[in-house]
Assembly symmetry: D2
Homo-oligomer: 479 residues x 4
């Protein structure tokens, strides 16, 4: 309601009440003002009513919601289903323009505003999370893997001769594929075993650089967040090496925004050496159901170059921004939350340790992995060959999701490349194991339930195992 309408309202109900109402409105508007002025993540989460008010206001600014609009183009933010329109808060116009994702769309002032704010808020969160000197970022409506590919494709124009990407092995398909998709040859560098941990083989990387020639290498493609017992790559050393050889460096920071350690590694890498871009998932770090990624870096010009490389046919829609603003508003960045996450990590570690020792296993010692933990399954494997895989399906049936079971010796061929010991980041990790992670959104209840069900499953398998080894003809019926 504008001031005119408030005045009219005062004739209908008492002026003092209306004035209080209009003052209350100002409360919401102040929050919106702060966001517009500073472009930063609000310090306190907005209430749902502020979020909805804001989104409704933005929607009203888009041409598809103009009361007198007539559209005679091929793309006018028309929508087939009212149900769909509502669930997008009527922000149904694309943003970006004629293949330029960063351009403002004249037909969609509200959505464009939302988009700009989103990038701004996200940049603020990256800084708060530890990469203090990040210069620029943008949200791209594509999966993390495809976003990595876009970085590589952009680099191609800078290094037309380069054919190789050096990649310390991490057993996750999409980041491997991103190199293949972009048309490069991945140079897989096996990790070294250091205690229980698998860490970057820096010497091997250096050797490869010399062997292939820096000018033939598109970039080094390193990783932060990963499943234990692998630990984040040695970013500082890799960054220094890249700087020395003048090789670009792209970091896959998949779900690392939630970890101050991962973010710190990136900040340090950029300080002492070279990091050209780091890419992170939208959904895994911000808990939004949107398949997007954030491409960020320390040189605004290079990040803009990537954004200009995106052949978006004006079709980055407001949906991801809308989700993200709604979510970050509610679930603002906070040191308390990160601290809480670390506490759950400690609980999970302790509980797994206790459980492991009760079952004759052990918690692998991986202090450098800030998110993921691993528990050996040696004993289990000893009972029966199939026991380890059986554990996986038992956990599935018991609705424990995300607890990966890693058997020994799995072989996998991806785009012609053979990976021995797939899923374990190593050709020959010494033991089978089980992963669990303390990732954003996890609760203490999740940990407790997981431990309980894991315990039950392990007991059941052991019982079975013994039965299987005993001569009883009835044993197999236990299965």
């Amino acid at each position: 309601m504008n001031s005119e309408n408030f005045l009219l309202s005062e004739k209908i109900v008492s002026p003092s009440y209306v004035r209080q109402g209009s003052q209350a409105r100002r409360g919401h508007e102040q929050l919106i003002r702060q966001l517009l002025e500073q472009g930063k993540c609000p310090e306190e989460g907005w209430s749902e009513s502020t979020v909805e008010l804001f989104l409704n206001e933005l929607a009203v600014m888009d041409s598809n919601n103009f009361l007198g609009n007539c559209g005679v183009g091929e793309r006018e933010g028309r929508v087939a289903s009212g149900l769909v329109a509502r669930r997008h808060y009527r922000l149904i116009h694309g943003i970006g323009r004629s293949g330029d994702i960063a351009a403002i769309q004249p037909k969609a002032a509200g959505s464009s505003l939302l988009n700009k704010l989103t990038n701004s808020v996200v940049l603020d969160i990256l800084k708060l999370s530890g990469v203090r000197s990040v210069a620029s970022c943008f949200v791209v409506p594509m999966a993390t893997g495809m976003s990595l590919a876009l970085c590589f494709l952009t680099l191609r124009h800078r290094r037309p001769k380069a054919r190789y990407i050096i990649w310390p092995r991490i057993d996750q398909k999409s980041c491997f594929k991103s190199m293949i998709t972009a048309g490069f040859e991945p140079v897989v560098v096996e990790n070294v075993l250091d205690g229980d941990e698998l860490r970057t083989d820096l010497e091997a990387v250096e050797r490869k650089v010399e062997e292939l020639g820096a000018e033939n290498i598109l970039c080094v493609h390193s990783t932060t967040s990963c499943f234990a017992p692998r630990v984040p790559d040695s970013l500082e050393e890799l960054a220094a090496m890249c700087a020395k050889h003048n090789i670009p460096h792209v970091v896959n920071n998949a779900y690392g925004v939630q970890s101050s350690k991962c973010m710190h590694l990136i900040q340090q890498g950029a300080r002492v050496g070279r990091i050209d871009a780091f890419v992170q998932s939208l959904d895994k770090n911000f808990m939004v159901p949107v398949g997007g990624a954030i491409i960020a870096g320390f040189d605004a010009a290079f990040i803009e170059e990537i954004s200009k490389m995106y052949p978006g046919d004006s079709c980055w829609f407001a949906s991801p921004s809308c989700c993200l603003v709604a979510s970050t508003s509610v679930f603002v960045f906070s040191h308390e939350r990160l601290h809480d996450l670390q506490e759950i990590y400690s609980i999970l570690a302790e509980e797994l340790k206790r459980l492991a020792s009760a079952h004759g296993e052990r918690l692998l010692h991986t202090p450098h992995n800030p998110i993921s933990l691993a528990m050996s399954l040696d004993g289990l494997q000893a009972t029966s060959d199939k026991a380890v895989t059986q554990l996986g399906s038992m956990l599935f049936t018991r609705q424990v999701s995300g607890a990966r079971v890693i058997p020994l010796g799995k072989e996998q061929i991806i785009n012609g490349y053979t990976f021995r010991g797939f899923m374990s980041h190593s050709e020959s990790y010494p033991c089978p194991y089980l992963n669990a992670a303390s990732a954003i959104g996890i609760t203490r209840e999740d940990v407790a339930l997981c431990i309980k069900r894991l315990d039950k499953s392990l007991k059941a398998l052991k019982k079975e195992g013994k039965a299987a080894r005993s001569p009883s003809p009835l044993a197999s019926q236990n299965l």
Copy 2:
């Protein structure tokens, strides 16, 4: 409610009423059954209540909605904001798995089902729209331009030596960029003027093929839907040429699904020659606010190869599918609707013709463009140099969206390539003009309003023009 609960209900309210209620439920279930059984676009639009019932049922099948679930992985479909969860019908888990977009995600049976059905329904609609022999398709959560790039990147692995893409000029940035992004060199083939129409210069294409050598050409990249006076490329002839020279052929069918002519061209092209893939926008053809595309083709193996090339880190989310199912259910494919669209095309053409002649302009004769129309602005340009651009901003202010104004002689540099006469698909189109299109979702009211406002604007500009040429010192104040 299952049968047990219906029985319990019979004890609370009259059995005959409950039975009628349970029978009514079967009505919805029958519709769902048909969809599951046939995987086809329903013949009649579903009511919103059936759509919501179905989406709720699917959501219940996803692990993030399991009542007793505990998640200890890095990606468990957690969501920060309830507001966001609700607007996604709680279908917030990603689908696809470990970099394989087509794989079924065990944690998200409901979303996976939705995904499979979406691809199946979309395939059905492509067939019904005229490409009867299409073999396979998949919805990809990326803009059309990026999807074209993915096709080119996939072809690179088949034709490692090829460096060029032959591209009959169409002035739209993102499809041009898609080639640059993928790392290829676009070979721009200017169109020929045929009456008012700009059509494919087949001889020039043939010449280029011979000049560059078929083995050095990644593919021909042609276009169907486009702004008049350009018309869809001569697909039959291009397809035949590609077959002859054994060159792949990728068609940008941007918003062509809504036109039986465009679809017919593709069907014919595939019949007489070679079309490897055709790519279309999700939003522009299905009126959904989702930046996705459909990659389709006649050889299922090749389409699968493209889908496997997508480095999706398991993050194709249910959102696009959800919107699409909701929309196609409400707004089903129908020949009546397409027929209606053609009728609006005729009305728009007639009205523009009438208006043009009233203002001393003419409707350009572009019978081969089934969607877009163009009206000359020669007379307007004669009144003043700035008049043509002024018309554009007047229409913007008067909330006519999508009516593009094309001045003469605009120059644009994209990724180092210079386009003269940009926006007109030609280095030297004979006259400036205005575009309007009869695209899906347009209404008769839109046409009427557009004509009315266009008329007003033209009149205003003429008056101004006269004033400008008269010696009155006050004239400029009219601007």
Copy 3:
């Protein structure tokens, strides 16, 4: 967004786009201004987005949505479930105050405003619908029957001695009960048969008045909308009689707002005689799922007296108003719509006539009933005693709702009063019959489907009837 925020937005996206957006906002605000200024039903239905914008704006004005509010009373608009809050647009505070339904609630400026507007818009609609001289009305959150009782209870204070209410019989329980509930003795006046129609026995009413003494009569309680073959009471004559004898007159106008004839009767009655109040249902006339009623009259002071008699413990909630505004905004009063309803009435009449003659029945001739129609079931009854009731359950099973079947001779006791021939408004209507009505919201499809299923059912019953009378031992199995 206030002007300050719009200015800030101009720094983020292009000023001209933001200005267009802010202008678009004014479009919605103008509609709201008109409503606030005139308090009338908008001439054109508001779009859903205007409705939602308005309701959100109002919600923001209620104290339960103040960002810094703290409540330490017993009733602070708190809400247990977010789900419930959202579906009430967060307008969850009661309106009215300390037992005065019309008082403005300081804690709920938005809801109070909504309430005032609702009463104002409803008054406008009553006028437009034909009761041009109505002086005042208010929406009361109670069923129609309870609202009639409230009118009687208010009259008691004016006529403390009166014990009787004169009531031309209409077979509908709640309006009969309303008199019992209020503690009065209903004096049932049987209707007279005039052709097929049952109409008010004016002489009998006059006789009763003289017999009981005007001072002992609380009021005459007449009815407009009713099931055929009863027709609306002779309001003009009753009103004149009431004026003559100085007896109050309360009209049950249940679902009569949708009929210009019913409204005309009330207008005429008030013009030539006396009508103190007329009461109508909210849900049946406005198609809102809310159990409320509108109490209206020609003397504002008396209507206020009724409103003050309502012992509402500050708990008239915004929900009905909210629904009503949402609905009237979308579904505005229009003469076209009423005209359309009359057309469907004609179609229904014709179709029933055709069907009746095909089955040896006839459409009862009830030209004075503008909404309901009746078709005789003489022939059906002749086939079997149970056939008439069977028809009822067949229609139920075939999902024809609202088609009442009226057998002969049903007896019903209500609060000690015995009604012979219950449901037929008469002790001895000549024939059994079936009712169908052309009421607001009915569609041509409803009529067509109803006729089709009715035809099928009648055929099935006839076949059965014949079979039953034939000696075949298998006949009963058809049942």
Copy 4:
């Protein structure tokens, strides 16, 4: 999805995943089964997804949602606005039938089921809250005051001669009006001052009974929850007196369900004497934005008699039930919650006490009032005559809602009855005071904020008071 559709789904995605999904569905169904079987408040709150699933299932059972329904009656659950339909979960049909609120509506099996369950769950909560021997209750869609009136109107039929209702004074308009509305003469019995507390003057009640004659007394109308320093009526003694004299007893338990003390009083009253009905607000006890009430009692037959007296023209809609089920499911009855409420009561008491002594006031000693507290304002009044009312408006402006300020000597005329000292429940309470309550939904933050703002306001007023008494000419500008 029925089993058939699950089977079909297994052909589309992996059977084991679908089976887990269908098992997950059973989880929700089990919760629904328990509710249907036991009709009790669930022990743990349902998730929003279970609530929505259940409401959607019920909606599907109502005829207005039948896919093939055709309605030709005057009331078919039609709805003007989709927006309104959605916010009612499409449960838009009335329940109850032909003036019988308890009857099942054939057209609305789902809504009827919801209604029955609601009454059943509410009865369970009344029992759990302390009235263990309650026999029956029903939710009535009317304000508490009107519901009390309905009880009185029902009693009239049992005691046709009775004219008086004995009513220990409580200064709340609507419960006073309920007696006037029903047509009876309230006999106001002033309270006695006992320390700071105002309690029932039992001797005066007894005297009135003897004076007027038991047979002339319709009932005693007592109250539990009220603002301090009044305390709940002495229910045990009143109930015993009613039993002795054979006078009905109706208790206004407005917002007493949240207090185990109030509920205990009712239980005890019924045990040792006579309580015919007790009436409570829906919104104030269950935090639902619905103007309804619960009429309950110990004799099922009498409660049924009241329900049959309700002249509901089939128009009790599902909306209140729907809200209530949604809310109770989320916000289940729990002893912890009640315990928490008592704790906040203690905190509020202590904080007020501290504040009072800091400002030279005192917390009134009212141990028998379990919800409301009062702090004297003697000192404030001493500073200036207007100070007490000023405090009220200061708190309003500072968004402290529900903190009532009670000045001395206010006079109020209600329906011809004069109340001296209105709002204080007494003709001459010794001091002005301020009320605050620990009512359901209040948080610790509310208490803290209230104390803070109250402190500030008192300080400001004192300063002003001093300034006013000093000769400074600038003082008034402080206002």
